[in-house]
Protein backbone atom coordinates (compact mmCIF):
# COMPACT_ATOMS: atom_id res chain seq x y z
CA UNK A 1 0.00 0.00 0.00
CA UNK A 2 1.49 3.30 -1.11
CA UNK A 3 0.74 6.97 -1.14
CA UNK A 4 2.56 8.96 -3.77
CA UNK A 5 2.69 12.76 -3.57
CA UNK A 6 4.24 15.29 -5.93
CA UNK A 7 7.75 14.91 -4.47
CA UNK A 8 7.49 12.05 -2.01
CA UNK A 9 6.38 8.47 -1.60
CA UNK A 10 5.08 6.69 1.47
CA UNK A 11 5.08 2.90 1.31
CA UNK A 12 4.02 0.32 3.84
CA UNK A 13 5.87 -2.94 4.43
CA UNK A 14 3.62 -5.32 6.36
CA UNK A 15 6.52 -7.64 7.17
CA UNK A 16 8.25 -4.97 9.27
CA UNK A 17 5.08 -3.02 10.11
CA UNK A 18 6.98 -0.07 8.70
CA UNK A 19 6.02 2.99 6.71
CA UNK A 20 8.97 4.31 4.73
CA UNK A 21 9.03 7.99 3.79
CA UNK A 22 11.07 8.79 0.67
CA UNK A 23 11.82 11.93 -1.32
CA UNK A 24 10.96 15.44 -0.11
CA UNK A 25 7.94 15.96 2.13
CA UNK A 26 7.62 19.71 1.74
CA UNK A 27 3.86 19.82 1.73
CA UNK A 28 2.45 22.74 -0.21
CA UNK A 29 -1.30 22.62 0.42
CA UNK A 30 -3.89 21.49 2.92
CA UNK A 31 -5.23 18.70 0.68
CA UNK A 32 -1.77 17.21 0.42
CA UNK A 33 -1.35 17.31 4.21
CA UNK A 34 -4.78 15.72 4.69
CA UNK A 35 -3.90 12.93 2.26
CA UNK A 36 -0.68 12.12 4.14
CA UNK A 37 -2.51 12.04 7.47
CA UNK A 38 -5.30 9.87 6.02
CA UNK A 39 -2.74 7.38 4.71
CA UNK A 40 -1.01 7.14 8.09
CA UNK A 41 -4.32 6.68 9.87
CA UNK A 42 -5.39 3.98 7.41
CA UNK A 43 -2.20 1.98 8.07
CA UNK A 44 -2.59 2.53 11.82
CA UNK A 45 -5.99 0.87 11.63
CA UNK A 46 -4.53 -2.30 10.14
CA UNK A 47 -1.91 -3.21 12.71
CA UNK A 48 -1.19 -4.15 16.29
CA UNK A 49 1.87 -3.61 18.43
CA UNK A 50 4.36 -1.09 17.09
CA UNK A 51 4.26 0.87 13.85
CA UNK A 52 7.69 1.87 12.56
CA UNK A 53 8.01 5.17 10.70
CA UNK A 54 11.29 5.27 8.80
CA UNK A 55 12.58 8.63 7.61
CA UNK A 56 15.98 7.35 6.47
CA UNK A 57 15.29 8.15 2.82
CA UNK A 58 13.34 11.37 3.32
CA UNK A 59 15.73 14.08 2.26
CA UNK A 60 13.64 17.03 3.49
CA UNK A 61 10.53 17.93 5.39
CA UNK A 62 8.85 21.28 6.03
CA UNK A 63 6.72 22.63 8.84
CA UNK A 64 3.53 21.38 7.19
CA UNK A 65 5.04 17.91 7.01
CA UNK A 66 5.95 18.08 10.69
CA UNK A 67 2.44 19.28 11.49
CA UNK A 68 0.97 16.22 9.73
CA UNK A 69 3.28 13.96 11.76
CA UNK A 70 2.31 15.73 14.96
CA UNK A 71 -1.36 15.21 14.15
CA UNK A 72 -0.73 11.54 13.52
CA UNK A 73 1.07 11.15 16.86
CA UNK A 74 -1.90 12.82 18.54
CA UNK A 75 -4.25 10.40 16.77
CA UNK A 76 -2.17 7.40 17.87
CA UNK A 77 -1.97 8.74 21.42
CA UNK A 78 -5.74 9.15 21.61
CA UNK A 79 -6.36 5.59 20.35
CA UNK A 80 -3.49 4.16 22.44
CA UNK A 81 -3.66 0.86 20.53
CA UNK A 82 -0.40 1.07 18.62
CA UNK A 83 2.98 2.41 19.69
CA UNK A 84 5.22 4.30 17.28
CA UNK A 85 8.90 3.83 16.57
CA UNK A 86 10.43 6.77 14.69
CA UNK A 87 13.64 6.04 12.80
CA UNK A 88 15.88 8.92 11.76
CA UNK A 89 19.08 9.00 9.72
CA UNK A 90 22.30 10.44 11.11
CA UNK A 91 23.17 11.85 7.68
CA UNK A 92 20.05 14.04 7.52
CA UNK A 93 20.33 17.10 9.77
CA UNK A 94 16.58 17.74 9.87
CA UNK A 95 15.73 14.22 10.93
CA UNK A 96 17.94 14.11 14.01
CA UNK A 97 16.84 17.59 15.10
CA UNK A 98 13.12 17.74 14.33
CA UNK A 99 11.89 14.20 14.85
CA UNK A 100 12.91 13.77 18.53
CA UNK A 101 10.29 16.42 19.36
CA UNK A 102 7.55 13.94 18.50
CA UNK A 103 8.67 11.84 21.46
CA UNK A 104 7.67 14.70 23.75
CA UNK A 105 4.08 14.46 22.51
CA UNK A 106 3.41 10.94 23.80
CA UNK A 107 5.36 8.36 25.76
CA UNK A 108 4.25 5.70 23.26
CA UNK A 109 6.75 7.17 20.78
CA UNK A 110 10.25 5.71 20.60
CA UNK A 111 12.93 7.55 18.65
CA UNK A 112 16.13 6.06 17.25
CA UNK A 113 18.84 7.19 14.85
CA UNK A 114 19.36 4.16 12.63
CA UNK A 115 23.04 4.64 11.96
CA UNK A 116 24.11 5.34 15.55
CA UNK A 117 25.78 2.03 16.34
CA UNK A 118 25.30 1.07 12.70
CA UNK A 119 27.72 -1.84 13.03
CA UNK A 120 29.92 -3.16 15.82
CA UNK A 121 33.19 -1.75 14.56
CA UNK A 122 31.79 1.62 13.42
CA UNK A 123 33.89 3.82 15.71
CA UNK A 124 37.18 2.36 14.52
CA UNK A 125 36.31 1.79 10.85
CA UNK A 126 35.05 5.37 10.42
CA UNK A 127 38.13 6.93 12.01
CA UNK A 128 40.73 8.73 9.92
CA UNK A 129 43.33 6.37 11.43
CA UNK A 130 41.79 3.56 9.37
CA UNK A 131 42.61 5.26 6.05
CA UNK A 132 46.31 4.17 5.83
CA UNK A 133 45.21 0.53 6.06
CA UNK A 134 42.77 1.07 3.18
CA UNK A 135 45.43 2.82 1.10
CA UNK A 136 47.92 0.01 1.69
CA UNK A 137 45.33 -2.57 0.63
CA UNK A 138 44.50 -0.66 -2.54
CA UNK A 139 48.17 -0.40 -3.43
CA UNK A 140 48.48 -4.18 -3.73
CA UNK A 141 44.94 -5.17 -4.67
CA UNK A 142 44.05 -2.70 -7.42
CA UNK A 143 46.72 -3.93 -9.87
CA UNK A 144 45.02 -7.35 -9.69
CA UNK A 145 41.45 -6.10 -9.37
CA UNK A 146 41.58 -3.75 -12.36
CA UNK A 147 41.25 -6.63 -14.82
CA UNK A 148 38.75 -8.52 -12.66
CA UNK A 149 36.35 -5.59 -12.30
CA UNK A 150 36.37 -5.13 -16.08
CA UNK A 151 35.60 -8.83 -16.56
CA UNK A 152 32.66 -8.28 -14.26
CA UNK A 153 31.30 -5.53 -16.46
CA UNK A 154 32.78 -2.12 -15.62
CA UNK A 155 33.33 -0.47 -18.98
CA UNK A 156 34.10 2.88 -20.56
CA UNK A 157 31.23 5.40 -20.55
CA UNK A 158 29.27 3.82 -17.70
CA UNK A 159 27.69 5.58 -14.75
CA UNK A 160 29.20 3.90 -11.72
CA UNK A 161 28.44 4.01 -8.00
CA UNK A 162 30.89 2.68 -5.43
CA UNK A 163 29.02 2.21 -2.17
CA UNK A 164 31.07 2.08 1.04
CA UNK A 165 33.90 3.61 -1.00
CA UNK A 166 36.11 4.26 2.02
CA UNK A 167 38.84 6.78 1.31
CA UNK A 168 37.87 6.92 -2.38
CA UNK A 169 41.14 5.79 -3.93
CA UNK A 170 39.63 2.91 -5.90
CA UNK A 171 36.85 4.93 -7.56
CA UNK A 172 39.43 7.58 -8.49
CA UNK A 173 41.75 4.96 -9.96
CA UNK A 174 38.84 3.40 -11.83
CA UNK A 175 37.83 6.83 -13.17
CA UNK A 176 41.34 7.53 -14.37
CA UNK A 177 42.18 4.11 -15.81
CA UNK A 178 38.88 2.58 -16.94
CA UNK A 179 37.05 5.61 -18.37
CA UNK A 180 33.52 5.50 -16.96
CA UNK A 181 31.54 8.68 -17.65
CA UNK A 182 30.86 9.31 -13.94
CA UNK A 183 31.62 7.74 -10.59
CA UNK A 184 29.83 8.44 -7.35
CA UNK A 185 31.48 7.26 -4.15
CA UNK A 186 29.32 6.97 -1.04
CA UNK A 187 30.54 6.26 2.47
CA UNK A 188 29.11 6.72 5.94
CA UNK A 189 32.41 7.95 7.36
CA UNK A 190 32.71 11.74 7.32
CA UNK A 191 36.49 11.38 7.68
CA UNK A 192 36.73 9.02 4.70
CA UNK A 193 34.56 11.21 2.46
CA UNK A 194 36.60 14.30 3.33
CA UNK A 195 39.78 12.36 2.59
CA UNK A 196 38.32 11.18 -0.74
CA UNK A 197 37.47 14.73 -1.79
CA UNK A 198 40.99 15.84 -0.94
CA UNK A 199 42.42 12.97 -2.96
CA UNK A 200 40.18 13.86 -5.90
CA UNK A 201 41.45 17.45 -5.86
CA UNK A 202 45.02 16.22 -5.59
CA UNK A 203 44.61 13.73 -8.46
CA UNK A 204 42.61 16.32 -10.47
CA UNK A 205 39.99 13.73 -11.37
CA UNK A 206 36.82 15.09 -12.93
CA UNK A 207 33.40 13.47 -13.20
CA UNK A 208 33.65 11.91 -9.78
CA UNK A 209 31.77 12.86 -6.64
CA UNK A 210 31.84 11.71 -3.05
CA UNK A 211 29.02 11.97 -0.61
CA UNK A 212 28.19 10.79 2.86
CA UNK A 213 25.37 8.30 3.00
CA UNK A 214 23.79 5.33 4.72
CA UNK A 215 24.36 2.27 2.53
CA UNK A 216 21.14 0.69 3.77
CA UNK A 217 19.06 3.74 2.79
CA UNK A 218 20.79 5.51 -0.09
CA UNK A 219 19.44 8.88 -1.18
CA UNK A 220 19.87 7.86 -4.81
CA UNK A 221 17.30 7.26 -7.52
CA UNK A 222 16.14 3.80 -8.53
CA UNK A 223 17.76 2.34 -11.68
CA UNK A 224 20.28 5.18 -11.97
CA UNK A 225 23.66 3.44 -12.42
CA UNK A 226 25.07 0.99 -14.96
CA UNK A 227 27.53 -0.60 -12.57
CA UNK A 228 27.37 -0.59 -8.77
CA UNK A 229 30.15 -1.89 -6.57
CA UNK A 230 30.59 -2.50 -2.87
CA UNK A 231 34.08 -3.66 -2.18
CA UNK A 232 35.49 -5.22 0.99
CA UNK A 233 32.74 -3.72 3.11
CA UNK A 234 29.89 -6.16 3.53
CA UNK A 235 31.92 -8.10 6.11
CA UNK A 236 31.41 -5.40 8.73
CA UNK A 237 27.61 -5.43 8.59
CA UNK A 238 25.45 -7.95 10.40
CA UNK A 239 22.75 -7.72 7.73
CA UNK A 240 24.58 -7.35 4.40
CA UNK A 241 21.42 -8.25 2.50
CA UNK A 242 20.02 -4.81 3.42
CA UNK A 243 22.90 -3.21 1.56
CA UNK A 244 22.66 -5.57 -1.41
CA UNK A 245 18.97 -4.65 -1.70
CA UNK A 246 19.99 -1.00 -2.08
CA UNK A 247 22.75 -1.85 -4.58
CA UNK A 248 20.18 -3.66 -6.70
CA UNK A 249 17.64 -0.87 -6.38
CA UNK A 250 19.96 1.83 -7.74
CA UNK A 251 21.29 -0.37 -10.58
CA UNK A 252 19.48 -0.05 -13.90
CA UNK A 253 17.86 -3.19 -15.31
CA UNK A 254 20.59 -5.04 -17.20
CA UNK A 255 23.32 -3.36 -15.13
CA UNK A 256 25.69 -5.26 -12.87
CA UNK A 257 26.27 -5.35 -9.12
CA UNK A 258 29.83 -6.18 -8.06
CA UNK A 259 30.77 -7.09 -4.48
CA UNK A 260 33.97 -8.36 -2.91
CA UNK A 261 34.72 -9.99 0.41
CA UNK A 262 37.33 -11.55 2.64
CA UNK A 263 38.13 -15.17 3.41
CA UNK A 264 40.72 -15.44 6.14
CA UNK A 265 41.01 -19.20 5.54
CA UNK A 266 42.59 -18.43 2.16
CA UNK A 267 45.46 -16.35 3.53
CA UNK A 268 48.72 -18.23 2.99
CA UNK A 269 52.25 -17.90 4.21
CA UNK A 270 55.13 -20.29 3.67
CA UNK A 271 57.20 -21.62 5.40
CA UNK A 272 55.52 -20.79 8.73
CA UNK A 273 51.97 -21.70 7.81
CA UNK A 274 50.82 -23.01 11.21
CA UNK A 275 51.31 -19.87 13.37
CA UNK A 276 50.02 -17.81 10.46
CA UNK A 277 46.86 -19.93 10.14
CA UNK A 278 46.32 -19.77 13.92
CA UNK A 279 46.64 -16.01 13.93
CA UNK A 280 44.14 -15.44 11.12
CA UNK A 281 41.69 -17.84 12.74
CA UNK A 282 42.05 -15.89 15.98
CA UNK A 283 41.74 -12.57 14.09
CA UNK A 284 38.55 -13.84 12.44
CA UNK A 285 37.07 -14.77 15.80
CA UNK A 286 38.05 -11.42 17.31
CA UNK A 287 36.51 -9.74 14.27
CA UNK A 288 33.34 -11.79 14.84
CA UNK A 289 33.22 -10.48 18.40
CA UNK A 290 33.16 -6.97 16.86
CA UNK A 291 30.38 -8.00 14.45
CA UNK A 292 32.62 -8.62 11.42
CA UNK A 293 32.48 -11.71 9.22
CA UNK A 294 36.02 -12.11 7.90
CA UNK A 295 35.02 -15.19 5.91
CA UNK A 296 32.11 -13.52 4.12
CA UNK A 297 33.62 -13.96 0.66
CA UNK A 298 32.18 -17.48 0.37
CA UNK A 299 28.68 -16.13 1.03
CA UNK A 300 28.67 -13.43 -1.64
CA UNK A 301 27.44 -15.49 -4.59
CA UNK A 302 24.55 -16.72 -2.43
CA UNK A 303 23.69 -13.15 -1.49
CA UNK A 304 23.49 -12.21 -5.16
CA UNK A 305 21.47 -15.32 -5.99
CA UNK A 306 19.04 -14.50 -3.16
CA UNK A 307 18.64 -11.09 -4.78
CA UNK A 308 17.52 -12.87 -7.97
CA UNK A 309 20.39 -11.56 -10.04
CA UNK A 310 21.31 -13.29 -13.29
CA UNK A 311 24.60 -14.34 -14.82
CA UNK A 312 26.43 -14.55 -11.49
CA UNK A 313 30.19 -14.56 -11.86
CA UNK A 314 32.87 -15.21 -9.24
CA UNK A 315 36.62 -14.69 -9.21
CA UNK A 316 39.52 -14.79 -6.86
CA UNK A 317 41.61 -11.65 -6.71
CA UNK A 318 44.99 -12.81 -5.49
CA UNK A 319 47.78 -10.56 -4.34
CA UNK A 320 50.87 -12.64 -3.64
CA UNK A 321 54.60 -12.33 -3.33
CA UNK A 322 54.98 -13.17 -7.03
CA UNK A 323 52.69 -10.50 -8.49
CA UNK A 324 53.21 -7.91 -5.73
CA UNK A 325 56.20 -6.02 -4.47
CA UNK A 326 57.13 -7.65 -1.15
CA UNK A 327 57.46 -4.47 0.90
CA UNK A 328 54.07 -3.21 -0.27
CA UNK A 329 52.57 -6.55 0.76
CA UNK A 330 54.35 -6.37 4.11
CA UNK A 331 52.91 -2.88 4.68
CA UNK A 332 49.41 -4.35 4.41
CA UNK A 333 50.16 -7.08 6.93
CA UNK A 334 51.69 -4.53 9.31
CA UNK A 335 48.49 -2.47 9.05
CA UNK A 336 46.41 -5.58 9.76
CA UNK A 337 48.65 -6.54 12.66
CA UNK A 338 48.32 -3.16 14.35
CA UNK A 339 44.60 -2.98 13.67
CA UNK A 340 43.91 -6.48 14.95
CA UNK A 341 46.29 -6.70 17.91
CA UNK A 342 46.00 -3.13 19.14
CA UNK A 343 42.88 -1.38 17.83
CA UNK A 344 40.53 -4.36 18.02
CA UNK A 345 42.61 -5.96 20.77
CA UNK A 346 42.13 -2.93 23.01
CA UNK A 347 38.40 -2.87 22.35
CA UNK A 348 38.15 -6.54 23.26
CA UNK A 349 40.55 -6.16 26.17
CA UNK A 350 42.79 -8.98 24.92
CA UNK A 351 45.09 -10.57 27.46
CA UNK A 352 48.81 -10.10 26.92
CA UNK A 353 49.36 -13.82 26.09
CA UNK A 354 46.54 -13.70 23.49
CA UNK A 355 47.97 -10.52 22.00
CA UNK A 356 51.45 -12.07 21.92
CA UNK A 357 50.12 -15.17 20.10
CA UNK A 358 48.35 -12.96 17.60
CA UNK A 359 51.45 -10.87 16.98
CA UNK A 360 53.61 -13.98 16.58
CA UNK A 361 51.50 -15.14 13.61
CA UNK A 362 51.59 -11.74 11.93
CA UNK A 363 55.34 -11.58 12.44
CA UNK A 364 55.68 -15.05 10.89
CA UNK A 365 53.62 -13.83 7.95
CA UNK A 366 55.89 -10.81 7.57
CA UNK A 367 58.98 -13.07 7.62
CA UNK A 368 57.41 -15.24 4.88
CA UNK A 369 56.80 -12.16 2.78
CA UNK A 370 60.24 -10.64 3.28
CA UNK A 371 62.21 -13.87 2.83
CA UNK A 372 63.08 -14.08 -0.87
CA UNK A 373 62.26 -17.81 -0.97
CA UNK A 374 59.03 -17.38 1.01
CA UNK A 375 55.55 -17.26 -0.46
CA UNK A 376 52.48 -15.45 0.85
CA UNK A 377 49.10 -14.60 -0.61
CA UNK A 378 45.90 -12.70 0.20
CA UNK A 379 42.81 -13.78 -1.67
CA UNK A 380 39.71 -11.63 -2.03
CA UNK A 381 36.56 -13.15 -3.51
CA UNK A 382 34.78 -11.04 -6.12
CA UNK A 383 31.22 -11.78 -7.26
CA UNK A 384 28.86 -9.98 -9.57
CA UNK A 385 25.42 -10.45 -11.02
CA UNK A 386 23.18 -8.78 -13.55
CA UNK A 387 19.93 -7.11 -12.57
CA UNK A 388 17.18 -8.68 -14.70
CA UNK A 389 15.79 -6.52 -17.46
CA UNK A 390 12.29 -7.07 -16.02
CA UNK A 391 12.86 -7.57 -12.30
Amino acid sequence: MKHVGPTYRLSYDALDQQISFEGTLRITDADDAAAVLAYLIAIHGQIQGTLRLSFRRLRYINAEGMRALSQFVAFARDRATVNLKIIASGVLAWSVRFLPNLRALWDGVEFIVHDDGFYGSQAIIEDLDFVPLLRNQTRILWPQERAVIQRHGLARGMRVADICCGCGDVPLLAMRELGPSFILGVDHSEAAVEYARGLQAEFQVRNAEFQRGDATALLLEDNSFDFVSCRLSLQIFSQPEQIVRELVRITRPGGRIYITGEDYDLILGHPEQEPIRATYQAAASYGAAMGMDLRNGRRLSGLLADSRLEDIRADHIVADTVNTEREAFAAVIESWRDFSAFTIGSRLDLSEPDRATLLAGYDAHLRSIRWPQGYASWTVIACSGRKPANP
Partner: protein, 176 residues
Protein backbone atom coordinates in the same frame (compact mmCIF):
# COMPACT_ATOMS: atom_id res chain seq x y z
CA UNK B 1 12.24 49.30 13.95
CA UNK B 2 14.77 46.61 14.84
CA UNK B 3 14.37 43.25 16.47
CA UNK B 4 17.53 41.55 17.64
CA UNK B 5 21.15 42.25 16.75
CA UNK B 6 21.49 43.56 13.21
CA UNK B 7 25.13 44.60 12.97
CA UNK B 8 27.37 42.75 10.55
CA UNK B 9 30.66 41.30 11.77
CA UNK B 10 33.56 43.68 11.17
CA UNK B 11 35.55 41.24 9.08
CA UNK B 12 34.93 40.69 5.39
CA UNK B 13 32.80 37.64 4.65
CA UNK B 14 34.65 34.46 3.75
CA UNK B 15 32.01 33.75 1.16
CA UNK B 16 28.88 35.36 -0.26
CA UNK B 17 26.10 34.87 -2.76
CA UNK B 18 23.24 37.23 -3.69
CA UNK B 19 20.06 36.26 -5.49
CA UNK B 20 16.92 38.14 -6.43
CA UNK B 21 13.56 36.60 -7.28
CA UNK B 22 9.97 37.76 -7.67
CA UNK B 23 7.80 36.96 -4.64
CA UNK B 24 4.92 36.25 -7.01
CA UNK B 25 6.82 33.39 -8.60
CA UNK B 26 7.16 31.71 -5.22
CA UNK B 27 3.50 32.31 -4.48
CA UNK B 28 2.30 30.97 -7.82
CA UNK B 29 4.54 27.90 -7.72
CA UNK B 30 5.13 26.99 -4.12
CA UNK B 31 7.57 24.25 -5.15
CA UNK B 32 10.01 27.02 -6.12
CA UNK B 33 10.71 27.63 -2.42
CA UNK B 34 12.04 24.08 -2.33
CA UNK B 35 14.03 24.52 -5.55
CA UNK B 36 15.57 27.81 -4.49
CA UNK B 37 16.41 26.50 -1.01
CA UNK B 38 18.10 23.43 -2.49
CA UNK B 39 20.03 25.50 -5.04
CA UNK B 40 21.33 27.92 -2.44
CA UNK B 41 22.15 25.11 -0.01
CA UNK B 42 24.10 23.09 -2.56
CA UNK B 43 26.06 26.16 -3.58
CA UNK B 44 26.85 27.28 -0.03
CA UNK B 45 27.52 23.82 1.42
CA UNK B 46 30.11 22.98 -1.21
CA UNK B 47 32.90 24.50 0.87
CA UNK B 48 32.12 22.57 4.04
CA UNK B 49 33.79 19.28 4.80
CA UNK B 50 30.50 18.02 6.27
CA UNK B 51 28.87 18.89 2.97
CA UNK B 52 25.75 16.72 3.15
CA UNK B 53 24.92 17.82 6.67
CA UNK B 54 25.50 21.48 5.77
CA UNK B 55 23.38 21.22 2.64
CA UNK B 56 20.53 19.57 4.50
CA UNK B 57 20.59 22.18 7.25
CA UNK B 58 20.94 25.25 5.00
CA UNK B 59 18.21 24.05 2.67
CA UNK B 60 15.87 23.40 5.61
CA UNK B 61 16.50 26.84 7.10
CA UNK B 62 16.16 28.64 3.77
CA UNK B 63 13.02 26.80 2.76
CA UNK B 64 11.15 27.63 5.95
CA UNK B 65 11.95 31.32 5.57
CA UNK B 66 11.07 31.35 1.88
CA UNK B 67 7.72 29.77 2.74
CA UNK B 68 7.20 32.58 5.28
CA UNK B 69 8.18 35.24 2.73
CA UNK B 70 5.88 33.75 0.13
CA UNK B 71 2.99 34.38 2.51
CA UNK B 72 3.95 37.85 3.69
CA UNK B 73 5.25 39.62 0.56
CA UNK B 74 2.77 41.43 -1.71
CA UNK B 75 2.56 40.12 -5.28
CA UNK B 76 4.62 42.10 -7.74
CA UNK B 77 7.46 42.73 -5.31
CA UNK B 78 10.96 41.36 -5.30
CA UNK B 79 12.80 39.28 -2.76
CA UNK B 80 16.54 39.79 -2.26
CA UNK B 81 18.25 36.77 -0.79
CA UNK B 82 21.83 36.79 0.31
CA UNK B 83 24.04 34.41 2.19
CA UNK B 84 27.36 35.31 3.80
CA UNK B 85 29.77 33.21 5.75
CA UNK B 86 31.89 34.65 8.56
CA UNK B 87 34.13 32.96 11.03
CA UNK B 88 31.76 30.89 13.18
CA UNK B 89 28.61 32.20 11.54
CA UNK B 90 26.47 31.96 8.42
CA UNK B 91 24.10 34.85 7.80
CA UNK B 92 21.08 34.46 5.58
CA UNK B 93 19.36 37.76 4.72
CA UNK B 94 15.95 38.09 3.13
CA UNK B 95 14.79 41.57 2.19
CA UNK B 96 11.32 42.17 0.81
CA UNK B 97 8.14 44.20 1.15
CA UNK B 98 5.74 43.14 3.88
CA UNK B 99 1.98 42.99 3.33
CA UNK B 100 0.48 45.87 5.37
CA UNK B 101 -2.08 43.56 7.02
CA UNK B 102 0.59 41.31 8.55
CA UNK B 103 3.11 43.93 9.68
CA UNK B 104 2.07 44.07 13.32
CA UNK B 105 1.49 40.33 13.71
CA UNK B 106 4.70 39.43 11.93
CA UNK B 107 6.84 41.81 13.98
CA UNK B 108 5.13 40.69 17.19
CA UNK B 109 5.82 37.10 16.29
CA UNK B 110 9.49 37.76 15.50
CA UNK B 111 9.81 39.62 18.82
CA UNK B 112 8.39 36.62 20.64
CA UNK B 113 11.37 34.56 19.43
CA UNK B 114 13.44 36.49 21.97
CA UNK B 115 11.33 35.41 24.91
CA UNK B 116 12.14 32.60 27.28
CA UNK B 117 9.15 30.59 26.12
CA UNK B 118 10.46 29.19 22.85
CA UNK B 119 9.89 25.61 23.97
CA UNK B 120 6.24 26.13 24.90
CA UNK B 121 5.65 28.36 21.87
CA UNK B 122 7.12 25.69 19.60
CA UNK B 123 5.00 22.87 21.02
CA UNK B 124 1.89 25.05 21.01
CA UNK B 125 2.30 25.59 17.25
CA UNK B 126 3.35 21.99 16.55
CA UNK B 127 0.27 20.58 18.24
CA UNK B 128 -2.27 23.25 17.27
CA UNK B 129 -5.32 21.76 15.58
CA UNK B 130 -5.66 24.78 13.30
CA UNK B 131 -3.12 26.98 11.59
CA UNK B 132 -2.87 30.49 13.06
CA UNK B 133 -4.63 33.32 11.29
CA UNK B 134 -2.99 34.86 9.44
CA UNK B 135 -0.52 32.06 8.82
CA UNK B 136 3.00 32.93 7.75
CA UNK B 137 4.77 29.69 8.59
CA UNK B 138 5.15 30.44 12.28
CA UNK B 139 5.82 26.77 13.01
CA UNK B 140 8.61 26.59 10.41
CA UNK B 141 10.42 29.56 11.91
CA UNK B 142 9.99 28.19 15.43
CA UNK B 143 11.39 24.82 14.33
CA UNK B 144 14.60 26.51 13.24
CA UNK B 145 14.99 28.53 16.43
CA UNK B 146 14.05 25.57 18.63
CA UNK B 147 16.10 22.84 16.90
CA UNK B 148 18.84 24.51 14.84
CA UNK B 149 19.52 27.30 17.35
CA UNK B 150 19.35 29.99 14.69
CA UNK B 151 18.89 33.60 15.81
CA UNK B 152 16.50 35.85 13.94
CA UNK B 153 16.85 39.59 13.62
CA UNK B 154 14.60 41.91 11.66
CA UNK B 155 14.63 45.53 10.55
CA UNK B 156 11.40 47.12 9.39
CA UNK B 157 11.23 50.46 7.61
CA UNK B 158 7.64 51.54 8.30
CA UNK B 159 7.42 54.22 5.60
CA UNK B 160 8.22 51.76 2.82
CA UNK B 161 6.99 48.52 4.41
CA UNK B 162 10.32 46.94 3.56
CA UNK B 163 11.61 44.31 5.95
CA UNK B 164 15.02 42.72 6.17
CA UNK B 165 15.16 39.48 8.11
CA UNK B 166 18.53 38.12 9.11
CA UNK B 167 19.00 34.51 10.18
CA UNK B 168 22.26 33.67 11.96
CA UNK B 169 23.27 30.04 11.85
CA UNK B 170 26.14 29.16 14.19
CA UNK B 171 28.77 27.26 12.23
CA UNK B 172 28.93 24.64 14.97
CA UNK B 173 25.46 23.57 13.84
CA UNK B 174 27.08 22.65 10.53
CA UNK B 175 30.20 21.09 11.97
CA UNK B 176 28.69 19.13 14.87
Amino acid sequence: MDIGEFALPAADPLFMIDLSVQAEDLQANWGRCNMLANYLAEYVAYQFSEREWAENLISTVTNEFLEAVAQTAPPGTALALSCRQYDGLILLDLAHALRPDVVVLYMTFLSSLYGSTIDSLYFAHLTAAERPTPAFNQLGILMLVHDFHVRVAARLEPPTGQIAVRISIPTQEITP
